[in-house]
Amino acid sequence: MKAISIIEAVGQLDAELLADHLNKKQKAEEKMNRKMKTGIVACAAIAACAAIVVCLFPIVKLILKGGNQPAPVTVEYESVKEAQDALGIVTLLTKEETDAKVSVSYASDSDGAADLTKPIQMKVRKAIPEGSADYYVLFGKTDPKDCYIAGYEEQGLKKEIGGVAVRYSVINDGANHFQARFVSGNDLYVIDVVSKGDIDPDAYLLPLLS
């Protein structure tokens, strides 16, 4: 008997048997379609949730990590020594022994007052001929790139003084600008000088680092 005859004989299958089968097939296909629809809906829901998480993440991060923090509070001091006494720390700026105006920025507490246990930055402004020199200590920052003081341009200029690596840039745009950055201890130091006259970087770096 040829296989093709069997195939043809199968065609004479009882009509009720076939009708019953077609009903079952219909149900199976309905189930398949439902599964597919459920799968599509589930995938869409997962994708939507992922999109919401991705969109909300930066907002939540801002809320939780300080995007909405109170502004720092600045306290003025008469000298570096007075500021350091208030902070209970010693910085390299002690060596400058300057009486220039000193300001320390603190994080503010919930009442908006300075939280003296959380200093953010100390700034010393020193007058120089035909310009000014600002010394900054950014507390708790150990990466020279992690700096918000403007006026620096990465020029690849580096020097090492007393075992401390210093990056600096020198710019002339009508006035001379010099900015140096280095890390000492757990703090980042920034020296930012503007002058119409010549600027000798060593004159600012050596007193602190040698």
Binding site: M1, A3, I6, G11, Q12, L13, A19, H21, E29
Partner: protein, 195 residues
């Protein structure tokens, strides 16, 4: 099959009554309710879209000519039998000496594993008798094996599609097919069909 919502007894009755009234809307309704399913049955056998389309149109004409006087118990089974018959005839016409890639070709190959062409049963057993034997065989099969048998050897569905419909793996369907083929061989031999 594309008649999930509309394939109710009343829908079939409505369509057959249109045929009995010689209303051409009968063909439009048949196409709307069963068109995709019929195309699929023909396509499984022929693997050619144009040929499958023609088979479907031929099936509509055949049903138009058959009802009345025919009064099918199950309209869907009646339609399926007609489209299958037409598609297989076309398959023979197209193949005459060459093979075409279709599920039917594969089904025939599968059955050839148990049925040798040198046998003489074809000469002694009428096709109708064989059909009756196969019907009784299919009735005795467990539900899943019956489903697999009709899907594969009547509707020429692919194994992958059957696996999807049953929510089982492809190897499971192959296992069921092997079991069914072996049982069919025993059944035919027990009933005097020499293989």
């Amino acid at each position: 099959m594309n008649h999930q919502k509309t394939q109710t007894p009343s829908a079939d009755e409505r369509i057959t009554s249109l045929y009995r009234k010689r209303d051409e809307a009968a063909i439009r309704e048949t196409d709307r309710v069963y068109g995709k399913f019929l195309f699929r049955v023909a396509y499984n056998i022929l693997h050619d879209r144009e040929e499958a389309e023609e088979c479907r149109n031929d099936a509509y004409l055949a049903v138009w000519n058959a009802i009345p006087p025919a009064e099918p118990v199950s309209f869907s089974a009646f339609l399926t039998a007609i489209i299958r018959r037409i598609a297989i005839n076309r398959y023979h016409a197209l193949t005459a000496g060459k093979r075409i890639p279709s599920e039917l070709t594969v089904c025939i190959d599968e059955l050839s594993e148990i049925l040798q062409s040198k046998a003489t049963a074809e000469e002694t057993a009428e096709k109708e008798m064989l059909g009756t034997l196969i019907s009784s065989f299919v009735k005795e099969l467990p539900e899943r094996q019956r489903f697999v048998f009709i899907e594969r050897f009547y509707l020429s569905e692919s194994v992958e599609r059957i696996a999807e419909e049953l929510s089982v793996s492809v190897p499971t369907v192959y296992r069921e097919l092997n079991t069914v083929k072996s049982k069919l061989k025993d059944h035919l031999e027990r009933n005097g069909i020499r293989l």
